[in-house]
């Protein structure tokens, strides 16, 4: 932990702590919503430890609570989580090998990936990824457990604006990468595609569809 502080500095660690804390609060509402909709407390807690991917868990719990089949909920969750494959291709170098790679893979999520991408130095990339990954792996299940036990922990997370925090975190950290035109053009095209696809495609697929934006970059490279 001390070496992590030396590598990252207290400001970066404070930023990561803020994101983990916010995830913990969302986790509390997640646990409370799951229990409030009639599901056993074990379900959100087990999902939060074993799946450790908030949006897929919300979807899974929502489908099951609405009386949908658990198999449909599983497929929906897997579609949402498919983006971890391209994430791993991008930041896989920070994980190391052997057991570290197994543990590090489980810690992969939107936040840990975006914190890693925000750093250029390899040591800082690694430290940011692991600090955020471990922080969320603690805060998210802990929040889910507290929320599931309390029933209605913090009331409506929307009243606190917590739903605006997640996209704000990603935006703040991804913005420097968008200064590069070769990245910005595919990212903007991809976002338009994702937004256009959201009303018609199942959750998870619109974001994956954004990858067609990369074709713009390929064309530019070939033409050059």
């Amino acid at each position: 932990m001390r070496s992590m502080k030396r590598t990252l500095g207290s400001r970066d660690l404070r930023n990561i702590a803020l994101v983990c804390l916010a995830d913990g609060l969302v986790g509390m509402s997640y646990g409370a919503i799951a229990v409030g909709s009639g599901l056993g407390a074990w379900l959100p807690v087990a999902l939060s430890v074993l799946v450790l991917a908030g949006s897929a868990e919300f979807l899974f719990v929502g489908i099951v609570a609405a009386g949908g089949s658990p198999i449909a909920a599983t497929i929906a969750g897997l579609l949402v989580n498919a983006r971890h494959l391209p994430f791993g291709l991008a930041v896989g170098d920070v994980l190391g090998r052997g057991l570290r790679r197994v543990a590090g893979s489980h810690l992969m999520n939107d936040e840990s990936v975006v914190f890693a991408l925000g750093e250029t130095d390899p040591d800082r990339r690694r430290a940011a990824y692991w600090a955020c990954g471990v922080g969320i792996a603690v805060c998210w299940p802990l929040g889910a457990l507290l929320g599931a036990l309390a029933g209605n922990a913090i009331g409506d997370p929307a009243a606190l604006g917590l739903d605006a925090m997640f996209p704000a975190v990603l935006l703040a950290l991804v913005l420097p990468a968008l200064r590069d035109r070769d990245v910005r053009v595919p990212a903007l095209i991809g976002s338009v595609v994702a937004l256009a696809a959201t009303p018609v495609l199942p959750a998870g697929l619109p974001v994956l569809a954004a990858l067609v934006g990369l074709l713009a970059g390929v064309r530019r490279t070939v033409l050059r």
Binding site: R14, G92, F166, V169, V174, A194, L211, L214
Partner: protein, 107 residues
């Protein structure tokens, strides 16, 4: 009881499948990233996905639009990030803007 077992099995399948997605990238990366342009494209792909996540998480809820308060909060965050405000200020301002608008009755 069968329903309970199906549910437990589903949690297991979702967990295993999610881990497979997470593990595949780090395993495949050394084999695929043999040329600089491939490595660059894989990094771009992550940024493209994250940017699309910003857009969909900011503007949509399920298959519908997310209302006004949340997108406004994210726009505030974008402006502050563009002006290079501290990360904590950016994130808390987004939440405060969305929460404040809702307090005023804006959805």
């Amino acid at each position: 009881m069968t329903g309970h077992l199906v549910l437990i099995g589903s949690v297991g399948v979702l967990a295993a499948g999610t881990f497979a997605f997470r593990f595949a990238g780090p395993v495949l990366r050394p084999r695929i990233a043999t040329r600089p342009w491939v490595e660059r494209t894989m990094a771009s792909a992550a940024v493209v996905l994250l940017t699309a996540l910003v857009g969909t998480a900011a503007l949509t809820e399920g298959h519908d639009l997310a209302g006004v308060a949340r997108p406004t909060g994210v726009v505030v965050a974008g402006l502050l990030a563009w002006r290079k405000a501290p990360f904590v200020v950016i994130v808390l301002s987004a939440a405060a803007a969305a929460a404040g608008l809702r307090l005023l009755g804006v959805p």
